[in-house]
């Protein structure tokens, strides 16, 4: 008899615990205002940087916080990572003073993980107190993590005029000896208008149709794959949720950012000369019209930002990347090194569906 009732109680317990687990998503906006400052008073003065400069040093960021830059008047620091704040271990362990967590899902829509609609991005900017005149400083946990680059790119596209990325991420910050704080910061929504039409720079993103058309008809156009060599050669899709491997026909390889190819030994971002050397391997140059892409748009943001801060204007990102390309069976693809004789040219529909990494 006791066993039977114990069984009933156990089942009830399971149901109740599931209910509690599922309900957890709705209260993710409950934020704690408490912030503990673990650092000491600082007064760092760093050289000012040009507005177009994206990758900035920890010293410069600290000098903004300390009120010693013109950007100190209106700035926002974003700790960029995928997932909700409570699931972001890096933010919980310690973040730059005053930084807000920004989930990359808030800038990407689910269909192709492309950047959300202008209306959604404008609303997001308002929620974080950002207008076109706000200096947006993004950072991730390390130099190779491109979450911050993805969000920085989004705000540049939207029209924010001064966007920065902490070069080397939080690793560089802590290595430089600057303090972090724990606790949660809640952004203050602005009622002020964004100040320009979103997107102010639609030319930064190429649609899949435009890419297709340019690959067919424009010899000066170079579609640059910022993916691993195995992904470029069609050995793996690189993603557990993408079954097919290959590249759009005509793409060239621009090396991967995840393997550190775009980082110096200290974790900081490489210069334009490195981008140029990667392009040269495929007989391309900085004079070509360049459109960077990767799987869904994170990694490609890094070479774009390097080119952007060096004043190049013939650059864009093909946001849909391989993910969107491989969804259309009619699109042309290459599997293998296009410079070699054994490269296979076919269509998406003919690709095998066993290339997701196991």
């Amino acid at each position: 008899m006791k066993k039977k009732w114990l069984c009933v109680l156990l089942c009830t317990g399971m149901v109740v615990s599931m209910a509690a687990g599922c309900g957890g998503q709705s209260d993710d906006k409950k934020t704690k205002e408490k912030t503990e400052d673990t650092g000491e008073k600082s007064d760092v003065k760093a050289d000012s940087v040009e507005q177009k400069k994206v990758y900035v040093s920890p010293e410069w960021v600290q000098s903004v916080i300390d009120g010693n830059q013109k950007e100190s008047e209106d700035y926002v620091i974003l700790e960029c990572a995928w997932g909700e704040e409570e699931d972001d271990a890096a933010y919980g362990e310690g973040h730059i003073k005053g930084a807000y967590h920004m989930n990359t899902d808030s800038v990407e829509s689910e269909e192709y993980w492309n950047i959300r609609t202008p209306e959604e991005i404008e609303a997001l900017a308002a929620e974080y107190g950002i207008t076109k005149d706000t200096t947006v400083i993004c950072y991730g946990d390390s130099g190779t993590n491109s979450a911050d680059d993805r969000i920085a790119f989004t705000f540049l596209w939207a029209g924010v005029e001064n966007v920065k990325c902490l070069d080397g991420g939080l690793e560089a910050w802590t290595k430089a000896g600057f303090s972090t704080e724990t606790g949660s910061n809640t952004p203050e929504e602005t009622k002020e208008a964004f100040g320009t039409t979103v997107p102010a720079h639609p030319e930064y993103i190429l649609s899949i149709d435009t890419v297709k058309e340019k690959l067919e008809n424009d010899d000066n156009f170079k579609l640059v794959s910022i993916r691993s060599e195995a992904e470029f050669l069609g050995e793996t899709s690189g993603y557990g949720y993408i079954d097919k491997a290959g590249e759009p026909k005509g793409a060239i390889w621009g090396h991967d950012t995840d393997d550190g190819s775009y980082n110096n030994s200290d974790g900081t971002t490489v210069g334009l000369d490195v981008v140029e050397s990667f392009l040269k391997e495929s007989d391309a140059s900085l004079d070509n019209e360049l459109s960077f892409y990767c799987g869904t748009g994170w990694r490609a943001a890094i070479p774009f930002l390097i080119c952007y801060e060096n004043g190049l204007t013939n650059i864009s990102m093909y946001d849909g990347g391989w993910y969107q390309w491989q969804m259309d069976d009619t699109l042309p693809v290459q599997v293998g090194n296009p410079a070699s004789a054994d490269c296979v040219f076919t269509t998406v529909g003919e690709l095998s569906t066993d290339k997701a990494p196991k």
Binding site: K4, C7, Q25, S26, E84, D87, G240, Y241
Partner: protein
């Protein structure tokens, strides 16, 4: 034999519940998992009439549960507390499945389709198990008379 089947079904039910919890947990914690789940959602949405299927399963569960309860009520005087407990668990699981499926959606909970499917399996298994127990109990009683 009956006891072994009972244990197997109970283990399956527990596994389904645990599976739903684990999928939901990793969909929230791992970006790769979240994107895989979203990708599957999109495929299912375009490939199957999910709304119709959902309502069909809810109706099936409700009808099966009602049938089992009617059978049980007819025999409640002779039935022991074990059957009562099984009916209560069945009602709880069925109500949980129906509530979860009607209140949530893939827009509010990414792992919704996976979880709803697993909860449906749990509800159906428990309902069939209870129904079989009521029927076999009746048969046993009849044989004794």
């Amino acid at each position: 034999m009956k006891k072994i089947l009972y244990i197997i079904v109970t283990v399956l039910e527990t596994a389904c519940f645990a599976g739903a919890y684990i999928i939901n947990y990793f969909t929230r914690k791992r970006m790769g998992m979240a994107r895989y789940v979203v990708y599957k959602n999109q495929g299912w949405r375009t490939g199957y009439p999910l709304e119709t299927m959902t309502y069909a399963v809810i109706v099936l569960v409700a009808v099966l549960a009602a049938f089992t309860i009617i059978l049980y009520i007819r025999r409640r005087k002779e039935a022991g507390s074990r059957l009562l407990a099984m009916n209560i668990v069945m009602l709880l699981l069925d109500c949980w499945y129906i509530w979860f499926t009607l209140v949530n959606s893939a827009d509010t909970l990414r792992a919704y389709y996976f979880m709803s499917l697993l909860f449906a399996l749990t509800a159906i298994l428990q309902t069939m198990k209870t129904c079989a127990a009521v029927l076999s109990y009746k048969k046993a009683e009849y044989t004794r008379k």
